[in-house]
């Protein structure tokens, strides 16, 4: 049975300060005009009434992470005999993310299926994932770009979170989702919240009820495959794409990476950094050949991967959490919903014999 606690709005910061003694705590605050998950700082205002510019993706999947430090050393007897010492840089410590949205937290479940497979777990991801807890805030308003309801989720979806916080009148109802989450709810600043449960449920229902534009994407995997070879279709939908990485880098469920070694002198590091399937470098081969030479090919990959290929191998789960950041932040105003619907509705022209 989940633990249910209540916290007054005014107590949020003191509670986070408490948590910060044991964990790295991230909460949304402004950096310039961008709302980001930043290390908790009591001096800074925590902004919870809108979705952050960037999901808390970096907390588990850093933009660039140093996987390995390596050092060359020479045999003094024979300088051309070189030894390499490599040291893995496994992440340590635990992290709490406060104020993530259901879509943000759910995004990592898309990662999990890939990085935490039994056969080949990614130890770096694993280490962070295990030790990163999400206190997720249920959404009270649905933004124009939101479409979590299209992808089997909703504004109060606890999937992927450790604690779900539902905004109620004068504070938040905190519901533990995981065991680790339950441990976070032991503060003296929290009071038993059972009495407010009904109020919270009502709020959740109200929000869910306000959504009326749900689309059925069941056919998406199959329909997208159907237009796979229709480059004209993809050229048209990608015409305005600028091939930048804003959509992928702001996406809570995009998990591609690239590995590079940077060496200076006798020392070096192996970096894993975000990759971006919109970039011409993505899948660029050493020969200069690129199986995805144009932006049409690449946008096809992004949409296809999320709405067709991933669900095909992961039990129908669409690898998109519907946060809408790719729509909001696209400098060219590309709307992924539009593309998916277009593919579903696409009727191939009758082939004339």
């Amino acid at each position: 049975m989940a633990k249910v606690q209540f916290i007054k709005s005014a107590d949020v910061k003191p509670w986070l300060a408490e948590l910060a003694k044991e964990h790295r705590v991230f909460a949304p605050s402004y950096d310039g005009e961008a709302l980001l998950f930043r290390p908790f700082d009591p001096e800074q205002e925590i902004v919870l009434d809108r979705a952050a510019t960037m999901p808390p993706k970096k907390t588990i999947f850093p933009q660039s992470e140093k996987l390995v430090d390596f050092t060359y050393s020479k045999d003094p007897e024979n300088l051309s005999r070189i030894k390499i010492d490599a040291k893995a840089n496994l992440p340590e410590g635990s992290t709490v993310v406060f104020g993530s949205r259901p879509c943000d937290a759910r995004g990592f479940t898309m990662f999990d299926r890939v990085y935490l497979s039994d056969k080949n777990p990614d130890i770096y991801y694993q280490a962070r994932r295990k030790n990163t807890l999400f206190i997720t805030l249920a959404c009270r308003t649905i933004e124009n770009t939101c479409f979590c309801n299209w992808v089997d989720s909703d504004p109060c979806d606890p999937t992927g979170s450790d604690v779900l916080a539902i905004p109620v009148n004068d504070g938040y109802l905190l519901e533990s989702v995981s065991e680790q989450g339950e441990k976070l709810l032991n503060s003296k600043l929290l009071a038993d919240g059972s009495s407010r449960r009904a109020e919270a449920e009502k709020i959740c229902q109200e929000i869910a009820g306000s959504i009326n534009n749900t689309k059925d994407l069941t056919l998406a995997p199959e329909k997208l495959l159907a237009v796979f070879d229709n480059m004209e279709f993809w050229e048209e939908v990608s015409a305005k794409c600028l091939s930048c990485g804003a959509c992928t880098y702001l996406c809570p469920s995009c998990y591609c990476f690239n590995i590079t070694d940077e060496t200076t002198g006798m020392k070096g590091k192996r970096l894993r950094s975000w990759d971006n399937c919109m970039s011409a470098q993505f899948t660029m081969e050493a020969s200069g050949h690129n199986p995805r030479p144009t932006k049409a090919h690449r946008l096809k990959n992004r949409v296809g991967h999320k709405f067709s290929y991933y669900p095909t191998i992961h039990g129908g789960v669409i690898s998109c959490c519907g946060c809408g950041r790719c729509i909001k932040s696209c400098p060219a105003g590309i709307d992924i919903r539009e593309i998916v619907l277009k593919a579903i509705d696409f009727v191939p022209a009758a082939v004339e014999e």
Binding site: D31, P39, D41, E43, S64
Partner: protein, 154 residues
Amino acid sequence: MPVLKGKELRIVGFLCNWCSYGGADTAGVGRFNQPTDLRIIRVPCSGRIDPLFIMKTLMNGADGVLVSGCHPRDCHYAEGNFYARRRLEVLHRFLPILGFEPGRFEYTWVSASEGQRWQQVVTRFTEQIHKLGPAPKIAGPEASATLRQMEAVL
């Protein structure tokens, strides 16, 4: 190891092969004493010096960058230093917007015969950099704490 602590600062020179590198050689042949901070990178022509090398050098933590080429009209390649002059001047004027002191980067002309002038240029530039002191260092990827302090200042 590379910079003698308390004695030297990191000063990088980009010199064209034909005039200024020769001028530095002439200064050596003439045994014209110079401060030891400067490390010279030889390039064929000042026209080869992409201003981005200078930015990169500063970004990498150099305390000063000195560029020297043939006097205008004397370029071994006829026009290289004319292009260089425009590009380096633009860079020189641009750097302060980034917060680099304007004097961290200078460019000048020294011919292969001007050993003495080279000595003066090096001495003067080195003094200028020592007066400015070590360049401010850019925070590394781990320096989020420093960044937050900066934010507090701003």
